[in-house]
Subunit: 243 residues, 2 copies
């Protein structure tokens, strides 16, 4: 009787662990997809590659499905395993992180949709400001996924602090784009798309910051008590006024 | 012994119900706050009332706190009550809905921040398009909160379908604003803020749609199988091209 119970417990523990690993793996795969979608969307803008942009738009459905998968799996785990403490936080954390990754995917897809429109308009010079901002956000996504899998709070906090740099880059890009619009009204349509693209990439950075907060909670059991960092200029609220 | 257990169980059941009610109440109160913040933000734009706008920006912290409260309470309930089936879905649903409400609050605060900037610039006529869009989204938020408290899937689905109307209104507002920018470059700065305000309000509508999906899951136990409705013009991706 004891042996049987012992075996049963061991079996249950192992398969529960496997389930938790599976959950983390799906979240990581979602993260990888979101990362790839952002990279491709930015490439589609820079190379004016409408075929690539279309692929990004279509592939977004896969990330949406993965979020549904995480959601369903999470609810099943909560019901069947009735987890406590660390495990409970890992499960609730996965649910929250997958929601952020789904939004990141949406924003990348929106960048790609706007690339399709931009590719039908004459090129504007402002596109040159976008890659450095995108590169920074891509690094941030990469680091936050590392922090998640390594349960590294310090790395998560580094990402959290870097959001300010993204906001500052966004502000200067925004100002540049406004200037192009004022110089030549024919740039306005293309520039509004650039503005929203930059905003999307900035929002992706915000979601990485959310994920950093979730990792902090997941590892330490406590919410981050600090106020979120904000770029000096409270991002894009101070465009140049010209008349 | 049996009596004591009996009493204990009855007590536990009642207090568990009370806890679930408390959770729903906090979510509703968050909803009420988010609704009020949106209404005030729009008023601040229309009346050019910077004092009101400042109040909205400051009050956003309260909604953020309430989300933290829901999060902490949810994790506690999951750990202590080990809920199953309906209760589990109610708890996970509250967690998701509170995240959407927090974002709605953020967008309302961003509208208010932009109102502060707009109030320092000469008025642009385009502001007239904003109230009808805002009114529709306010109705939608009101209806989705009703649907949540009444667990009314049909009402939730009505909200879900109305997102298309918001997207169409947003598209026409967007086109109008672009036209003002082209007519007079001195309008550009104010108009970019209007564009982002309209975008924020459209996003608030998207979050109401998310909440509709969560209510569907919460009541029926199934994810909505349908694709999200989209406005005819895939919202603001087809601005007029003028040269």
């Amino acid at each position: 009787m004891t042996t049987l119970q012992g075996r049963d417990t061991a079996h249950t523990v192992r398969s529960y662990e496997e389930e938790l690993n599976h959950l983390a793996n799906v979240v990581m795969r979602m993260g990888g997809q979101a990362e790839a979608q952002l990279a491709s969307a930015v490439q589609a803008v820079l190379r004016r590659d409408s075929e690539l942009a279309t692929r990004v738009v279509v592939a977004d459905a896969r990330i949406d499905e993965m979020e549904q998968e995480v959601h369903a799996f999470t609810v099943r785990l909560l019901a069947l395993r009735q987890p406590m403490a660390d495990d409970l936080r890992a499960i609730v954390g996965a649910l929250k992180i997958s929601a952020d990754l789904e939004r990141i995917g949406d924003y990348a897809a929106n960048v790609a949709k706007r690339a399709l429109v931009l590719n039908q308009l004459p090129p504007v010079p402002a596109v040159s400001g976008l890659p450095s901002m995108a590169r920074m956000v891509q690094e941030i996504i990469n680091d936050i996924l590392d922090a998640y899998i390594e349960k590294d709070v310090e790395k998560a906090l580094q990402v959290w602090r870097r959001d300010e740099e993204v906001d500052d880059l966004h502000t200067s890009l925004f100002r540049e784009v406004i200037t192009y619009m004022m110089e030549d009204p024919r740039n306005i349509t293309a520039c509004t798309h650039l503005m929203f693209m930059a905003k999307n990439i900035e929002r992706i950075g915000d979601h990485a910051t959310n994920i950093a907060e979730t990792i902090h909670f997941l590892v330490t059991g406590k919410a981050l008590p600090l106020r979120r960092p904000k770029g000096k200029a409270e991002t894009d609220l101070n465009p140049p006024v010209v008349d």
